[in-house]
Amino acid sequence: MFNKVLIEKDILNTKKTQSILNKVKYQDLIEIDRYDEYFGKYKKPYLQKRENLNLYIAKKKGNLIKETPDAYGLSGDKHYYYIHQYNCIYECEYCYLQGYFHSPDIVLFINHDEIINEMQKIMDQNQERVWFHAGEFSDSLALSHITDEFADYYAFLDKNPNALIELRTKSVNTKALKGARENLYITYSLSPQQKIKEIDLKTPSLKHRLSAINKLYQEGYKIGIHLDPIIYNDDFKENYQEFLDELNTAIPIKEIQYISIGVVRYTPNVWNEVKKNYPNSIMHKEELVKTEGNLIRYNKPMRMWILNTVEEMLYSYEIAKEKVYKCMEI
């Protein structure tokens, strides 16, 4: 699976590192002093993840937790994301990671104890609900059978009922999860199958994602859904109606904890990468413009119409209005 595994010398013999090494296939193992002496120091083309993907195992230094941007989650609560991994095994054509780290290599940080300490500090200063989102720079479940960090986070959740963790994913790899909790949310990014096939490269199909959602729902997990990114096509309304019907059979839509809806958008850097990496992408047929906030996306009437249309469809399944929010549209 990996070409080279690069490990920081200091953590080579730790239990966590050895556990990861036992579970991954690789060609060469190389000891290094610090991952950041290599990762992001030189530009490695994004699409080399297809045939030359390296894995770094490292300790995260600096900020372990960051505040999220506005309109990131349900309004009224505080939101943070924690950083335990960089990059993703999937290859979504719109993914902003292709313009972010200058390298597609995966970095697994093993100092979860330090991340949790930081989360605890925040909880100690707050009486209200605080959200901690995973998956800002990676998929939260895709490699979880290898990283196996959930026991530590479950202990934190049990100790802090006001702390809410969201695991964002497109993966059906749920076996490392350790049971439902009131304050644990598994959230899936979904699109109609045709769009998954066209631009969510190497990700599980809609059918498999819905099957995983159904299984988790039956087991009592709290489920959130991200209908993001929404991309217009000629049969957009029919496609979304059909797709939401399918979702409703996997989990009654009104039972979903929250649904975010967002229209496809790019920073100029990412858009340049998309043009280079996927010159034949269906995205190049869309009429996108550079808008306020320096984002490349549909013009305002178009994206508001798309969001309103999907929002109205969702309400027809009797989901409470406060559970639906528009991502990146204030």
Binding site: K41, H284, K300, P301, R303, T309
Partner: protein, 329 residues
Amino acid sequence: MALYIFAHRGEAQTFIKNLRATALDKDLYQSNNGLIYICSEGIYDVMCRLGSILDKYQVSKVINYGIAGALNNKLKINQVYSIRSIYLENNNEIEFKSITLNGDTDCITANKRVLDESHKNKLLPIADIVDREIWGIAKVCQAYNIELQSYKLISDFAGASTDCFDLKNTAQIFSDLMWNHFQARENLATNENNSRMIQSYEIPWDGTQYQKNILDKLMKKIDKNQLETFIQNISEQNLAEKEKINLLIEKINNKLYPVQAKIKEKLKRETKVLSDNGFQVIYDQKLEKKKIKLNLEVNSQKNISDAIRALEKFNYQSFNEIFEGNFDV
């Protein structure tokens, strides 16, 4: 023509002989197949001189052959690898900018020969092959927008066990091996070129450069059969060529972006009361900002009365609803 570039004369000797190349200038040879340039070791010489050669001669592609060291001990001695990403070690730091070619193995250009294990271990996480000049060659080719291919023959393993001091004795053998690889590739490329078909589509009318630019972008997105149908229909209409192109642009836009077309139609309808009464209505071309600009030429009291009436009739709320996405398609 092609430019074949080598670091050392020893590496190029079989190419010079078999291509019957004759000296043209210092370190530069010419044959019927193209130019051969001996650039010497390191990035500095090649970065100084390659540009002037590309300026002077009509070079369409650059092909680099050379021997290199293996950082990864899984690579095979005497095997030729085509180079993919090229990195640079510069003053003991790794240069951020890399250059990527169509090969399959990464190479780092080191600022000195790799003679010890610590230097080798420092470079190994980045690439499997180390050389001394390809980054310089690639940088110049990139600046001149000229295609580059690079093939490296592994002569030895970099690090403490390197044989890089004895290469003069084996240069002939290495040059022969690279020539064999080159010939095999040339035969393959000839077959591929013969089987390639070129397709293009011409618009039968002359337009402005602005129209051409818009059409160039749109034609990449529209189905060719659909385009032919549009052109056929428009050809039958009695219009000037520029008008025909405008109509074609409109038809393609409406086909590609039906919702956008409807949004524009709605905006036009909402502001019709203003445009019918002398206002030039300008709204944000990107449809991002919820505002309109009105220009009015006044040359009578009637203009003013009409304008006041039109402004009173104009329903800003309806205009605003379009930007909020509250419409049906």
